[in-house]
Subunit: 138 residues, 2 copies
DNA sequence: TTGCATCTACGAAACTCTTCGTACATTCGA
DNA sequence: TCGAATGTACGAAGAGTTTCGTAGATGCAA
């Protein structure tokens, strides 16, 4: 239960986290390069943001060499969990099913994905049952 | 396609919107009462927030009487859509299926809800097909 | 070795959001 | 009618975020 990120990342911090999750440990220059493709900003702006994130404990940093290398300290999964949880609680009256149907309704999934979800639903629907009951249901 | 809320609501604004969505048109006093159950804050703080939201075009206001009555101008559905869309894009690599399975995995749904989702999946899986194909698949 | 390119550190400005105090208007009961 | 209760308007402080310029350190190529 480490990974304490008490305050949720800002939008700018999220952009940087996403790059680090995707690319792994990176220099400020590398992050800034990728960021530049999306939005214009000065190099020292990215630097400052990453320094602050380091101060906040969101990023770790290897500063043996002149050029420091940063890594994400907070896990993508924990941010996902937090974000999805807040959304369900705040916007979908605590019902994950409401969120699920809203998501599927507005963002089409492929046939393969839909079948995968169905399989997953079977798993969780019958989890906790013994084998006999599972077969009965089938 | 009105309902232009270019900048997404802040957390404080979301709290007020949720109350107005739930309660319908309300006075500042009413909103503040409900808000007080969740967090402590001064009456004029709530007033100011709602005035600013009105300036931003998020709320409409009837000021015929001394005590004004505010209503949400932006639709819950549009905020949901925006929020879910951003989350899928930013945290789930654009895959609604990933979000769905994450949500179901971390926030248990009831048997009834799961069945409802399955039915919904059938609908969208076969939408776009003609009746003949649907029956073949069955 | 020297000088240029690159990097970090840091301060400060510009913004936004949140909070609340104060001033003034309106309503209503005694 | 008068005063208390209740309402709105508004200014400004304080906190957090984002932006960038500048100074100084470091590495590398000529």
């Amino acid at each position: 239960m480490t990974n304490l990120k008490l305050n949720k990342p800002t939008d700018s911090e999220m952009e940087i986290l996403q790059i680090l999750w995707e690319e792994g440990p990176s220099t400020v220059r590398e992050v800034h390069q990728i960021l530049s493709a999306i939005k214009e900003s000065g190099y020292t702006t990215t630097l400052k943001l990453m320094q602050i994130m380091h101060d906040k404990g969101m990023l770790s940093r290897n500063d043996e060499a002149k050029t420091h290398i940063y890594s994400a300290l907070i896990k993508k999964e924990s941010v996902q969990k937090q974000a999805v949880g807040n959304m369900i609680k705040g916007l979908f009256k605590g019902s994950s099913a409401k969120l699920v149907m809203h998501a599927l309704g507005n963002h089409r999934a492929s046939r393969e994905e839909i079948d995968e979800i169905k399989k997953y639903l079977d798993e969780i629907e019958f989890s906790g049952m013994n084998e006999k009951k599972k077969n009965q249901k089938k």
